[in-house]
């Protein structure tokens, strides 16, 4: 298959024309989707690319009648599926289509499965809802579970969602979606909540299933790499509008719209960008922090007759950090990277090991010394929505450290200093009196950084500090952190699951897996010649564009 364009395709299975959806809030209606048109044919993959709030999910939820009216309201437009108008179906006709001819999988597979029913029952419901409850349903379900790659389905069929891993839950969701061989599968950010290595497996599964059944796939994502690896055609959405549409390769290689160009520029491009990196310019050789033999065991609460069991979350971790250096700690969920951060902050107590910070063992600090230490080490958390008190103004959030540590700044100077800090992180003085909910995700993370800077720390630990942000915002926040480091002489420990992000920011990288460090190297060297298998898996997990992979095949 080479390039796909409209002329060469059969009549589209689904054609959306001029779809416009409003949401009625208390005040004026908000236009979530504005004059959006797209189409998809059998066997084709259409990717809808956009950042949060771009209206990409709303436009596909409308197709399945999942937008509640009210508050949603379809103002105009048509959604023609196989001759039927989807936007105005009665409930029975809608039910007959949903699950049978159009199916959907969602971002968060744990929340999307009902916690109190077995997965077998939840798959079974699809058959029953569409009058296929007769015959040997159990063996059909087992076949289906086998097909989506659930090992030992005979036992697993009677398990509950919480007993599966994230990737397996998404496989179960896929099983539910493909049970009745739908014509269209809509995948709404299907891999966003998953680890990179699992992401690759799920994308492979979707591609295989599409090849087998010839279904059309509409994939919604904010991830450019995922988009490139899956798409035949792409539409790019921002602010509820389609700003660019076309064959995937064209959109990626010769983007027309300014927004698309900005998105693609934000993508960390391997070697080309290595020259323009944001690593430390000067690094002192003075060691700021030295960690040795750090370990954390969790005693698992035992069942009725089981013995005590110990889970080693962190095992024998050792590293050092120089002044002015940025150390990246990379690993997937459950690798122990956040546990390390929390122990260094003394939020959790370690089971073993020591960490020497400026001559003192962090884990021995008490009382006054601990308070003094807390001043010198600050943290920026992943979720800027949850890590700041919504009832506190920006001023009180940033000035809180001064209230706690009385000796930093006299109260008379607080106002000026808050304004200074806001300016430092690229916000305005007038933001001082506002509340957190009035800011975007990227702005919130800037406020979190300003709060961290308020106590004039030497070390900032960033725990997935940009993971919750849109791609274009991620780059801005990283730039800010790099700039602050160079101006203020800060050191960073930057924890992330996303290897490409740290590539141009970290000086050295530690790769963690199952609580242990498996590889440690200078960033350039690590990317050029990864030694450990796991590091290689992580590097290869970044998906390749479809036009490159399909060229290889034939």
């Amino acid at each position: 298959m080479s390039r796909i364009d409209d002329a060469g395709m059969p009549a589209p299975l689904l054609r959306v024309e001029g779809l416009t959806v409003d949401f009625l809030s208390d005040g004026d209606p908000v236009r979530a989707v504005d004059d959006v048109s797209f189409h998809v044919a059998r066997g084709e993959t259409l990717v809808i690319l956009g950042e949060s709030g771009s209206g990409k999910s709303v436009s596909t939820s409308t197709l399945m009648g999942l937008v509640d009216c009210p508050p949603g309201h379809i103002v105009s437009g048509r959604c023609l599926f196989d001759g039927q108008e989807l936007a105005r179906l009665d409930e029975d006709k809608r039910r007959a289509l949903n699950g049978r001819r159009i199916a959907m999988i969602f971002q968060d597979p744990l929340a999307s499965l009902n916690p109190v029913y077995t997965v077998g029952r939840q798959i079974e419901e699809v058959y029953r809802s569409h009058g296929e409850g007769d015959g040997d349903l159990r063996s059909r379900i087992l076949d289906l579970m086998r097909r989506v790659g659930i090992p030992e389905p005979e036992q697993r069929i009677d398990h509950y969602p919480h007993q599966f891993s994230g990737g397996q839950r998404q496989r179960i969701m896929i099983a539910i979606a493909i049970a009745l061989k739908p014509d269209i599968l809509i995948a709404d950010e299907p891999t966003t909540a998953l680890d990179v290595s699992v992401q690759a497996q799920i994308l492979d599964l979707l591609r295989d299933l599409q090849r087998e059944t010839g279904m059309a796939l509409i994939m919604i994502t904010h991830d450019l790499e995922v988009a490139a690896s899956m798409a035949d055609r792409i539409i790019v959405m921002t602010g509820g509008k389609v700003v660019e549409a076309g064959p995937a390769r064209d959109v990626f290689e010769t983007p027309q719209h300014a927004y698309t160009r900005k998105l693609i520029a934000a993508l960390p491009h391997g070697d080309a960008a290595d020259a323009g990196h944001k690593r430390s310019r000067e690094r002192a050789n003075a060691v700021l922090l030295k960690v040795e033999g750090l370990g954390k065991d969790y005693v698992l609460s035992s069942g009725a007759f089981a013995g005590k069991s110990v889970f080693k979350a962190v095992e024998d971790v050792g590293f050092h950090l120089c002044k002015g250096e940025t150390l990246g700690i990379v690993g997937e969920s459950g690798s122990g990277k956040s546990s390390v951060a929390r122990m260094l902050m003394r939020l959790n107590e370690p089971t073993s090991g020591k960490a020497i910070f400026a001559g003192q063992n962090i884990f021995d600090l008490k009382g006054k010394d601990l308070m003094a230490f807390r001043r010198r080490v600050q943290m920026v958390f992943q979720d800027p929505y949850g890590s700041m008190n919504p009832r506190m103004s920006v001023h009180s959030i940033i000035s809180e450290p001064w209230q706690i540590h009385g000796d930093i700044l006299p109260r008379a100077r607080w106002r000026d200093r808050v304004v200074e800090l806001l300016d430092l992180v690229g916000l305005k003085a007038e933001h001082e009196g506002r509340y957190i909910h009035q800011f975007s995700g990227g702005q919130r993370q800037r406020i979190a950084i300003a709060r961290a800077l308020a106590s004039e720390p030497e070390l900032i630990i960033c725990d997935e500090a940009v993971s919750a942000l849109d791609v274009s915002i991620q780059a801005q926040v990283i730039d800010l952190l790099a700039d602050l480091r160079n101006r203020l002489g800060l050191s960073y420990i930057f924890i992330t699951h996303d290897l490409p992000i740290v590539r141009h920011f970290a000086d050295r990288i530690l790769v963690m897996k199952q609580g242990r460090i498996v590889e440690e190297n200078e960033t350039t060297a690590l990317f050029a010649a990864p030694i450990h298998d796991y590091t290689r898996t992580l590097l290869n997990a970044v998906p390749l564009p479809k036009w490159q992979t399909s060229k290889k095949i034939g």
Binding site: M64, G65, L66, E91, R94, R95, A96, L97, N98, G99, R100, A103, M104, F106, D108, A111, S112, L113, N114, P115, V116, Y117, E125, V126, S129, H130, Y160, H162, M173, I176, A177, G303, A304
Partner: protein, 304 residues
């Protein structure tokens, strides 16, 4: 599981012993029974003899250990007023309370689930607004007032229902109505709230994407997940009713444990007071275990 039950039982035993101790000394603060049981002009000798007969001449602490010793042998003491085993008296009244409590809670819960679910299915609708108003009124109306107004209206005014006592089915109507009202009001609010959040959960979207019928989505998926908080609140309310609906039982002359408790406190019938409290404490302990087991049954993520 067995270990869990054992642990729960031993905790409960400790709190029951604490409760028994407290009640034992508190009842003795209510005054001297001989003042009630002997004629006003009884001689000092007669009083002393009465006290000796009933073991009331000993120091309180000695009486307490005698009581504990007897408890261990399942001897719960004699009722002063009825001159028979105090436990017998308590156990005779308790089923009357249980019947009332069970009926009221069952009625309140099932009605609240239907009304609350329907209200949550169409938030802001006329039905929802009426349900919210009625449930708020029910939850906030004082039961003694409702009981008295009920008697005035239906018993005294229209003469449709008996004012108090037991016997016919008609005797049940007013007490059950009064006891159901408050739990019903509270539960409608709980059901509506938890159903609203359950209906906006992601798995409901999945169910809709599967093409499931609306009724099954509401009752099969959303309600099933809402049951836990409903069980918590209903269990709490049930505990209150098992404890004896003291006010309602007294107003309607219902021969339950609440009325017995009040009567024997007024009559300084110490052994009966202690026995009624022991019976309700054990019943509440069993009820709580049943609720915990129900949790584990309802939510596969909860295992003991």
């Amino acid at each position: 599981m067995l270990r869990y039950l054992g642990r729960r039982a031993s905790y409960s035993l400790i709190s029951i012993i604490g409760l028994v101790t407290l009640v034992f000394f508190l009842t003795r603060l209510t005054g001297d029974p001989s003042a009630l049981y002997l004629p006003l002009d009884a001689s000092a000798d007669a009083r002393a003899q009465f006290a000796r007969l009933n073991g009331l001449d000993q120091p309180a602490i000695v009486q307490f250990f005698t009581y504990l010793g007897n408890l261990a042998q399942l001897d719960f003491g004699q009722s002063l007023r009825q001159n028979r085993s105090a436990m017998e008296v308590a156990l005779e009244a308790f089923p009357e309370t249980l019947k009332l409590a069970f009926l009221a809670i069952a009625l309140a819960t099932s009605l609240a689930i239907v009304v609350g679910s329907l209200a949550a299915a169409r938030p802001g609708s006329l039905f929802d607004r009426i349900a919210s108003l009625v449930s708020l009124a029910g939850a906030s109306a004082p039961d003694f007032w409702i009981a008295i107004v009920g008697i005035l209206l239906f018993a005294v005014g229209f003469g449709l229902l008996p004012t108090s006592g037991t016997g016919s089915a008609a005797h049940w109507v007013l007490p059950i109505f009064v006891l159901t009202l408050r739990p019903f009001g509270l539960l409608v609010q709980v059901v509506r709230g938890t159903m609203l959040s359950a209906l906006s959960a992601a798995y409901i979207k999945t169910a809709r994407a599967k093409g499931m019928p609306r009724r099954e989505i509401i009752f099969g998926h959303a309600l099933r997940n809402s049951l836990l908080p409903i069980v918590t609140v209903a269990g709490d309310l049930a505990t209150g009713l098992v404890n004896g609906a003291v006010v309602v039982e007294s107003i309607f002359g219902w021969p339950g444990i609440g009325k017995l408790m009040i009567d024997s406190i007024i009559q300084r019938d110490f052994a009966v007071v202690q026995s009624t409290i022991l019976v309700t404490a054990v019943a509440i302990f069993l009820l709580n275990i049943a609720i915990d087991l129900l949790y584990a049954f309802l939510d596969p993520r909860i295992r003991y």
